[in-house]
Amino acid sequence: MELEYLTTGGIIAESLSRFIPVWIALAVTLVGGWFVRDRLSTFGRLYGSPVGLAGITLVLFWVFTALFADMIAVLEAREVAFLMKKAQPGGIDPQSGIAFLWGGDNLGRDVFSRVVYGSRVVLIIAPAATLIAYMVGITLGLPAGYNGGWIDSVLSFVANLVLAFPVILLFYLLVTPEIRALQYDTWLLGWMGVGWSIPRAMAAFFFLFPILFLTIMWFTKYEKNRTRLLTYGGITALVGFWIYFGIAFGWEPKIGEIPLNLALDPNELNVFAAVVFASSPGVFRIVRGLTMDIKTRDYVAAAQTRGERPWYIMLWEILPNARGPLIVDACLRIGYTTILLGTLGFFGLGLEPESPDWGSMINHGRQFVRLASTAHMALFPALALMLLVLGLNLMADGLREESLKD
């Protein structure tokens, strides 16, 4: 059966108009941000650099796309239209009258809607994994750089070990259905209802660091101020352990009828833990290097003379002064994590095959890429991924340029 097609101009116009919520949100944020740019410190200064502004616009575009995905996408990510198998971009589904702007894939799913929903998967996992990797890297990198000695030697050896291991081999060993399925029956099974598995053990180890980091932070700052220490420490412990047990152990608590469920799908947990594992050593190395540099400064010597404890100096003297390079690195690293996620998807590891994340879509479409008529299946997710990473890299470049102006 012959399909009706939109013209190229029609596809572009229709694509632009479907993103209307994003354009409005972008305009509001960027214009609003311009008025309060003086109060936004580092990020406010991005308005002075065209490159940085272009970067943040691209990043915000995907952030808003992920937020408003339900309004933008016309179909569900897994919804199948039988007549639209391998449809060219701009084809109109005769059954529903919906235009498949970026074509249909080989199962008849709308590539446009899948790319839009895919931004959700990517923009949740990549920044969250980077955040946790940062907590791990900071909590271990600060003492390694500050104290040196055997702590430094051991931690650096382990970090270099992980870095020397090819990422792809790491993923092939860690992110497989076999590894996920392997459950050890121990006391944990009786207690939490789930057994230990390798991804769960990794998650349980890595996700402890954010709580550890915040607790040390409050303790060093408010050691003498009991009420504050108890308030902040209490909130951290309560929220922290709720998230911790929810994500790492699939705990599903309820208050009355309201479920407070954070449990991740085992696939997602596995991907999450593997990505954190792969990117923490990099953060560790950067934090360690910066700490070794900053600990020779006068204000650190002053704090030492005052008799401050090492952890206070690390967290409240050294860390704030390392924030410039760390923010730049964080932007780059979110992009790098996005690439890692894409690599996982490209090899069909991790997330389930129907998942609309961009890497899986590229993997799915790459067998059809050699024919011009079916190339769109992999082309659009590839462009989407590239634009997001490009945005993050441009933003990092803008931030670095602006911070060098001081």
């Binding site: 490159v51 070990l161 870095l163 392997l182 690599t343 490209f346 050699r370 190339a375």
Partner: protein, 311 residues
């Protein structure tokens, strides 16, 4: 210096033992062994049959004993047998490494000079239009991983224009089928090396001796070529050597994408079939490449820059 190198070689050996131990543990987990038993025996084996198969083939010996015997054999040059290819690993491996070597040779040939030229051009006049446009171009290239550029190039040059082929065969290496894989791999690393070269070049251009050379009336071209270049190329050297771990991932992606049967292809086959000996050999090769290039970069850096003293 000799003590430094020996120490580093010791660390490399220790790293190898640690990493192979981890890989050995992972591939010998129960579900992975079951997979081997079922692909080697038959898919319809019962649990008891799987168990007896594993028992018979020595997979149920104590873990450290198995690892020890593998290690002893490996050190003596016997890497074991590949289950997937039914051949000793020593026969499978060199052929594939050779193919990847050819690919890497061309990648290096395109990537390194290209990156250095872009970096030097951008860095010699910091803030100029040329600098800005080249910088944005290199940021764009670092934003597109191999699986994105590979798709883009295939769509543009192979599917639409039909200039090159989207498949690279190991049997015949021609301009037509080798251009796309080489371009795909070099573009991603090129941006990164170019940015490092640019930063290093820009720093050198602000130094005193460059100003002196300019003030004594030397032509700009001469200053760049004779004075700046030499010092500006020290930092990129390290960066190029440290690119190897990334290139390795790139090799796996590019070989999968263009169906080029080299080392990356072998690694994926080994991992998918849980081919224990082959996988261990592959990881050893990968880790040795990474650690040796790190060592070379450290030694080279000390050699090129006399201000750095190796402790």
């Amino acid at each position: 210096m000799l003590i430094f190198i020996l120490k580093r070689l010791g660390v490399i050996a220790l790293s190898m033992v640690c990493l192979t131990l981890v890989v050995f543990y992972m591939v010998n987990l129960d579900p992975n062994l079951e997979k081997i038993a079922k692909t080697q025996g038959s898919m319809r084996m019962t649990d008891a049959e799987v168990e007896s198969w594993l028992e018979r083939n020595g997979y149920r010996e104590p873990f450290l004993e198995q690892y020890g015997s593998w290690l002893v054999n490996f050190v003596q040059g016997d890497m074991g047998d590949s289950l997937r290819f039914q051949k000793p690993v020593e026969e499978v491996m060199p052929e594939r490494l050779g193919y990847t070597g050819i690919l890497m040779f061309w990648v290096m040939l395109v990537m390194v000079p290209g990156a250095l030229i872009i970096g030097v051009l951008a860095g010699m006049r910091e803030g100029s239009t040329l600098d800005r446009s080249l910088s944005v171009a290199s940021i764009t290239s670092t934003s597109a991983p191999e699986y994105v550029t590979g798709i883009l190039f295939t769509v543009i040059f192979a599917s639409t224009l039909g200039w090159f082929k989207g498949i690279a065969s190991t049997r015949e290496i021609t301009f037509e089928n080798f251009t796309l894989p080489v371009l795909t791999m070099s573009i991603y690393g090129m941006g990164y090396i170019a940015r490092m070269t640019r930063a290093s070049m820009a720093e050198v251009m602000t130094s005193q001796y460059i100003r002196t050379a300019r003030l004594k009336g030397m032509a700009f071209r001469q200053v760049v070529l004779k004075h700046a270049l030499r010092n500006a190329l020290i930092a990129p050297f390290t960066v190029i050597m440290l690119q190897f771990p990334w290139l390795l991932t790139g090799v796996v992606i590019v070989e999968a994408m263009f169906n080029y049967k080299g080392f990356g292809w072998l690694l994926v086959r080994a991992a998918e079939n849980n081919d224990i000996d082959l996988l261990l050999a592959c990881s050893c090769v990968a880790v040795v490449v990474v650690l040796l290039t790190q060592l070379i970069s450290d030694i080279g850096y000390a050699y090129l820059n006399p201000r750095i003293r190796v402790r």
